[in-house]
């Protein structure tokens, strides 16, 4: 309430020193320096650190397998140059629950944020039929190598319009796609993006494959994110840990599509991984933390040496505590 803005605290000495003993009567406790609070003992509640929030304590919407379609990529196909890979993407305005009880008026591809995983093998002919079912003009802009007229920048698709994107899939690696209509910031933060995997001609080692798209949601329109997630729902993998086997090769296709914040990151507890930036070469880094700017992506390969529960999260702790954290349950 009243902050006494007008009556700022005194600067200077006091003319009425005589009144001090009287005034001291008013605060016996203040005079003692507020000692009763120095130690909080005997808590009724458990201490709450982020490591403590797991399972049913975690506020997150959705059921146990709700995000499987965004986590598990379609199967890899062998190298057959010229084979046609078809996908259908429809832009839809959807209200989605992005955190416990919090609805977000999203613009989506096929109703989810992020959109569906697109996967092809290098030299496949990718054919993506796009229908704009939203209220605003949209496009699909793919990262990768393709002709200028397939770039999704100049060929704006109006509401109700259609466009088929067709180009050979290359180079191999982890890529992404997103809307490139203006204002770009709005079209991205509203949710129009997804993962785009191109497999190399010589297949990668078989692995337990996962896709993680890092994002944020500005739910109150102030150009800062209120929640951060992987695959679209805050704290989802804290409530439903991802189950993997000890010693099996786990491969994560990771992309950052967070708007407003300059970077995002991925940090794994209790283990190291090989990180292949963009996944288009054999070059890798051995680490437990990687930092990505928007549009940056890569492939992580992990073999867990220990069983148990291991956390993964953004190492911007603010993002972690606003939803971007989860667990691996290593069995």
């Amino acid at each position: 309430m009243a902050k006494f803005t007008r009556k700022q605290l005194v600067v200077g000495t006091l003319p009425v020193v005589a009144a001090a003993p009287l005034a001291k009567l008013a605060w016996p406790s203040a005079a003692q320096g507020g000692q009763p609070l120095a130690v909080h003992e005997g808590h009724e509640h458990p201490r709450v650190g982020h490591a403590a929030m797991i399972g049913n304590q975690v506020p997150t919407p959705g059921g146990p397998n709700a995000l499987d379609a965004l986590l598990i990529p379609p199967p890899v196909l062998p190298h057959e140059p010229g084979r046609v890979r078809e996908y259908k993407l429809t832009a839809l305005d959807r209200t989605i629950e992005v955190a416990q009880g919090v609805e977000f008026n999203a613009w989506t591809y096929n109703g989810t944020v992020p959109g569906p995983i697109i996967r092809a093998t290098e030299d496949d002919l990718l054919r993506v039929s796009f229908v704009n079912g939203g209220k605003h003009p949209h496009t699909i802009h793919f990262h990768g190598i393709h002709p200028a007229n397939m770039d999704g920048v100049f060929e704006i698709v109006p509401p109700g319009g259609k466009l088929t994107y067709e180009f050979p899939a290359r180079p191999y690696g982890m890529h992404l796609y997103h809307c490139h209509a203006t204002p770009l910031k709005k079209h991205i933060h509203k949710g129009l993006y997804g993962a785009f995997i191109i497999d190399p001609p010589k297949p990668r080692k078989p692995a337990r494959e996962l896709v993680m798209v890092m994002n944020g949601y500005d739910t109150d329109g102030d150009n800062t994110n209120n929640f951060y997630t992987v695959n679209g729902i805050a704290f989802y993998y804290a409530k439903y840990p991802i189950r993997v086997q000890k010693g099996e090769l786990v491969r994560i296709y990771l992309a950052n599509l967070t708007e407003f914040d300059l970077i995002n990151s991925f940090h794994l507890h209790g283990e190291f991984f090989r990180y292949y930036p963009t996944g288009s070469t054999d070059h890798f880094e051995y680490t437990d933390t990687v930092m990505l700017c928007q549009g940056e992506r890569g492939i992580l390969e992990i073999e867990f040496a220990n069983t148990g529960r291991f956390m993964f999260h953004a190492h911007q702790t603010e993002f972690a505590e606003l939803g971007w954290m989860g667990f691996f349950e290593v069995e």
Binding site: M1, F4, K7, L22, H40, P59, D220, N226, E321
Partner: protein, 393 residues
Amino acid sequence: MASGAVAAHGFGWRLWALVPLLILVGAVSLLASSGDSLFDLLGRNPPPVDEFDVRRVEFRPGEIKIRVTNPQREDLEIATVTVDDAVVPFSIDGDSTLGRLRSATIVVPYDWVEDEPILVGVTSSSGIETTQEIAAAVETPEPSGKRFLGFALIGFLVGILPVALGLAWLPSLRRVSPEWLAGFMALTAGLLTFLGLEALSEAFALQAALPGGLGGTGLILLGFASTYLALSLLGRLFGKGATVSGLALATLVAIGIGLHNLGEGLAIGTSFALGELALGTFFVIGFMVHNITEGLGIATPIADRERVSFGRLTVLALIAGAPTIPGAWIGGFVTNDLLGVLFFAGAAGAAFEVVTEVGRYVRERAPGGLASPYAIGGFLTGIAVMYVTGLLI
């Protein structure tokens, strides 16, 4: 026969007075039943603001309690709660969906850090986050007899004591010349004007922070007009003629100051409760020095002729000073910004009414009237004294 006709005529007239109301009820129900079709003519209704009114944030060992109210017409749902930009688990006493003006208390288990600023946020289902920053997290004591007494003691120190001390100037005032007495009367008017303006600006500041649904500046006018008119009426009851007697005027001044001190007590209590004061003895001393002039203001009108008993003087000191105590209790235990707006607006209304009375008194009784150098000098001195002593707070 004739009187019966008059009565019937009178009755009919009263019935007619109901007709506009009945038509209004009809129109309102028609509009309500038509849904949004009228607004469709004008374009779409804007979405609700979906902001909570965070009423109070309390800190207990290992937990934070956030009292929120829904200030808008549409229902408001508590979806997530954050502390320092981190989503935290919480429980609610009651329903998570709040109807209009309904409140709920959110309990967050949290290891807060003593004396550090903290930011709590409540996010509605539509994703709008309402945040409230607390300057320093300090344990909120449970209401207890000791605390009750503590607020009473503060009220006594900043309210009653300085006013009583100011009244002790009375014997000295009796010896000054009529010109100087007029000057002191004008000084009273000056300090009351200062207090009135201060209270008014406080009322506006509080009102501006209120959520839109809880009323606009009209609320301030309501508080202001109520006490202004109530004191005018009281003045007429006290004095039989156009001007009031010295004692009556002193009583009015005391009431005006008392209302101001009620608001002041409220502000002090609230600030203590919310940990907003970088407390210390400075604060109380400042108020004491500031308020001693209020006692002078009450003493001046009774300095010219009447003998006033000690008992009456005590009553005057209590009228002016004692309201600080209930004010501090209300502020310390209840905290209600709406009440704060009304209190401060009321205090302003009372102060300006008393300024009017004092002005009239000076004009009619003082040598030279309002335009005398003593009156002008006194008025300006009153303002300056309040300003300078106000710097202490």
